[in-house]
């Protein structure tokens, strides 16, 4: 169903909005959304509540921006999408529920790109990092090599296979980090702050890359110009809850809403 636009804010007041609901993208052949999150709650072991009653539906092929102030729970939500964190509630990736037994399959479908590429690129060479996912999926060597080549090709980093990860620039690392996930041929790409720290040219290149990838994309970001240019749908989180969810254009024109949650129109 269409995303819900008004939600309770974290301080308990009810935010009512009359914005148009987002047009859901065409459902897939089996009629299921690519991703469904139902009433997800999560608290960290220190007692800090990070997610409150989060529900989200993502249709196949949608490109969605997840925005909100620091500490809103964006990264925590992302870590739930392939079962690295496990909260209370239900998550479905296609028809698969995210439960222990399904984790390998879920992780092959949901590719998570972390904010800091130094966390994502842990192998000595670029080739090994891009090959890590496919290898651990148990693919034969020929296919692994093919996938590495394809993934590097997709991010325009063909010649980088034998390079050492720690010698790359941040922009190169970010691209390679995306390639390490593309090589698993996921259905959904989940990115945490993909454009942070990049110079304008590297940022522009990254936006073009994300625009061209024929995947469902969910990206947490503070880069509002990128949100406007790249994402048709926008989800605002604050205090661990989803505050608003709708077409980017409509939400960006609501100055009061943006200001209430520490955001700015581009």
């Amino acid at each position: 169903m269409s995303p819900i636009v008004h939600r309770e804010t974290h301080d308990g007041s009810l935010e009512v909005s009359s914005r148009e609901l987002a047009q859901p993208a065409a459902p897939s052949k089996d009629g299921r959304p690519a991703l469904q999150v139902r009433q997800l709650d999560f608290s960290y072991p220190d007692g800090h509540t990070a997610l409150r009653n989060v529900s989200l539906q993502v249709q196949r092929g949608e490109k969605i921006a997840l925005v909100g102030p620091n500490g809103a729970g964006k990264s925590t939500l992302m870590l739930h999408l392939n079962g690295i964190l496990r909260g209370e509630g239900e998550i479905f990736v296609g028809e698969l529920p995210v439960v222990e037994a399904n984790l390998p399959a879920v992780r092959a479908r949901v590719g998570l790109v972390f904010q800091n590429p130094d966390d994502q690129l842990f192998s000595p060479t670029v080739f090994e990092d891009v090959a890590f996912g496919p290898l651990h999926l148990g693919l034969p060597e020929e296919e692994v090599r093919q996938r590495v080549a394809n993934a590097l090709e997709q991010v325009n980093m063909r010649a980088y296979g034998e390079r050492l990860s720690h010698h790359l620039s941040l922009g190169e690392k970010k691209r390679i980090a995306i390639a390490t996930v593309l090589s698993m041929e996921p259905e959904i790409l989940v990115l945490d702050e993909p454009s942070s720290g990049l110079d304008p040219r590297a940022r522009r290149g990254l936006i073009e890359l994300l625009d061209q990838l024929p995947l469902t994309i969910l990206a947490a970001t503070h880069d509002m110009p990128m949100v406007r240019d790249l994402f048709h749908r926008m989800v605002i989180m604050d205090g661990g809850a989803i505050i608003a969810d709708g077409p980017t254009e409509a939400l960006l024109s609501d100055a009061a809403l943006l200001e209430a949650h520490g955001l700015e129109a581009p």
Binding site: L79, P104, F114, L121, F122, E128, G133, H166
Partner: protein, 263 residues
Amino acid sequence: MHVDLFDRFRAGASPIHRLDPRVKVVVAVLFILSNVLLPDGAWLAFALAFIGLLFLNALAGFDLLFLITRSFVALPFALAGVSAVFALPGRPLWAWEIGPWQLVASDAGLLRFASLLTRSWLSVQMAILLTATTQFPDLIHALRHLRVPQVLVAVVSFMYRYLFVLTDEAMRLLRAREARSARPAAGGGGGSLAWRAWVAGNMAGQLFLRSYERSERVYAAMQARAYRGHLLTLNPHELGAYDWLLGAAAVGSLILLQVIARL
């Protein structure tokens, strides 16, 4: 900001560079083992081993003094063997009185110490040659293929990858401290030694915490890419006739060396 201090590799296309890393690792380890097995005072054999090293050094295309200058870094550690001078019975050379104790240096002890020093010096040079002619990822592959326990290889591999990140992190911390370490123009200031030690201790703690948290993020990144507890890699190396030949020649020379030392 990058720190490349640790990259010991020197690019080249020499016969040594092209050799399969497994052969290099095995020969280097055997060379070190051979040094250990040489009897004390086998100076001819030590000299031959050194000439062999110089030969490999030249073959790798490095300057004559390359190995020797780098090897001095490790020499202080060989001083741990200095106790051998006093530990062996033999003809006394010198004696010192230190309180109730008497230290007697013997000729046999001195000979053992000199031999120990030579052995470790030669071995360090071989290790330097190995790391200077082999890319670190190749070394890790070699260890893996030589069936070194997976966990050890993984630890070495992560250490190598994150040494750079950690050093960058430490440098950022130091720089931040530097930037706030102003002093009055008239001199003085800077706080007491205890206070400075306290700051340094906090920084070390910070570094540990950050590394610990990073390790959790890295593990999450591994899990996100289907890691289930076993590290897998592809095998990019194949042993050719050339590798077998050079490896066999090296092992043969080492056996010959042992025989010469015992003649």
